[in-house]
Amino acid sequence: MKQQILEADVVIIGGGVTGAAIARELSRYQLGTVLVEKGGELCAGQTKGSLGNIYTGLNLVGSMILKSVLLPPGTPLTELYHPHTLHTKWCEEGFREWEPVLNELDIKHRYVPLTIIAKDEDQIKNLEKIRDLGRQLGGMYADFEQIDREEIFAREPNVNPEVVTALHSERQVIDIFPPEVAIALAENAVENGCKILLDAEVISISQNGPYQIVQTRRESIKTNFIVNAACGWGDKVCDMAGGGRDWGLQYRKTVMIILDTRCKGLVNGMVRWPNVPGRLDLVQRREDNILIECGTYDPTDRPDDTYTIREDVIKSMAVAKTLIPRISEKDIINTFTGVRVFNTRDVEDHIVEFHSLNKKFLNVMIRLPGIIGALPMAGHVVGMLQNAGCKLVKKDDFHSYRKTIPRFRDLSDEVRNRLIRNDPRYGHVVCRCETVTEGQIVEAIKRGASTEEGVRMRTRAGMGRCKGGFCGPRVVKILARELKIPVTEVKKRSLDSPLLLCQSKELLLRNEKGIA
């Protein structure tokens, strides 16, 4: 079968938050932009498993302090602040840039208070370093207060009773759902003309005169520029454009746990121990659930090693209980493993530079945190493309606003009734645990969801405590109906994840005919 050939000005490889942010930024200009994603849905890689808060201030200072053990005595702490790195610059700019854009893109978000607690001598020493550096740096880094026990329990009544002191900030952490951010960026990009191809793993990249040909599992694309935002697979994609790469990728996996919404009263915001190298210890409100990331960053050799190890979950729960003693295993409704990607040239920073042999192939290798800096990163990438000869002419009809799929659960009865009058499918609640209606599921499919996971990421159907026990069959049937495909063709997330084998009686009929 002859592969269809598309034409573009820029091809973005990778449909996580990085690729989606770049796509949106490019869609401001009169350019043909195509984003290719190897998974069956957006966010198939690292974005899905990311912790994903948008934050500034104390959490950044905490990461800086990790290197303090390497500082020769007498060196001021401010030496740990590297404002010239892309990572630091984009974190600082990113938080500010996100605030209005979260509203523009109708992304659900909430400021949650941050409390870094300390109970023993080492933790207090660490905490004081964070405090001191934060105050010395000033600005957003100094926007916190040190509080005593009484104030700690007033703000977070359920923390470890042995806590001695804490640093607290009200507006430095924004709780979001990472797939929602990436999907919102992508939807806005599509609305403004960007094309997205799913199940489109890149197989090869070749030259054709002044152009490059990106060959995927589906179409081929003839393009001027290529942006490599393939995160964990970025090294392989880079090599497709030629050798000479002087960096590699290393991967770290970490487990995360979600607790039932019944526990939401246990924590008001984010509660954590001070940063310690190689691990993260925090418990936070994530929407109406509790999210726990209390564990080490364990080396792995694959970017898709999302294998959850039981012992890691047990260890994580044990540490979580040191933060919030009332946490219990019986409230676990989900565990998942995320992979964090770092480059081997400079583990502290991103690599955003053209390929040594191909000046129209731009590597955008972003390390964590990937969401905070996504907007300035995208602006920077577009600037680099322009400097490399990409003509940028602004569209006058670019619309930066995007409307979310109605979040039925969060709406008042009055608004719900208006929705239902307009489309009765919004009155048919399919997912009981998260109160998701048929109307939302149909809309999610209209917007590009074609698998169970796609529906789940856009609507939350199946994310609740019963994990799709009730809504599962109904969601699958709606997917089949709306996509006009047989039920047996509906997938969990990708082409090789079918949910159901065959129709009733087929196995019996096969056996009878002697077919194994």
Partner: protein, 123 residues
């Protein structure tokens, strides 16, 4: 005389006695042991001789908003015939309206039992 021992787990009550049924080479009953009640003894002998089962399954429905109708045998049938009945029923399609107890197949595979619907299906 050769004694062939067969152990039958009784299902009549929660005691679940492991009743042993001893037969000779010609299959004639010699002795039944380890039972605690008459019903258990009778069950064990019958179960040894010819295990009988109710078959419950589904049949495909056409021209309906339902995919299947649940059905059952209205009598117990020989356990050996279960799969043959499943094969036979796999090739059958019915249509609404259906009432509870409608006969879909009379005397299926000569078992002496009919296949009847167990649910009402009006559309």
């Amino acid at each position: 005389m050769v004694k062939n021992l067969n152990e039958i787990t009784c299902i009549i009550c929660p005691l679940a006695c492991c009743i042993s049924v001893a037969v000779d080479d010609e299959g004639r009953l010699i002795e039944v042991a380890n039972f605690q009640c008459k019903e258990g003894k009778e069950y064990a002998v019958a179960e040894y001789r010819a295990p009988m089962r109710v078959l419950t399954t589904t049949v495909i429905v056409g021209k309906s908003r339902h995919a299947l109708v649940p059905v059952r045998t209205n009598r117990v049938i020989l356990r050996e015939k279960l799969f043959d009945c499943m094969q036979h029923l796999a090739r059958i399609k019915v249509e609404p309206p259906l009432m509870v107890g409608d006969v879909i197949v009379r005397n299926i595979l000569n078992t002496g039992s009919d296949i009847i619907t167990t649910s009402e299906l009006l559309d």
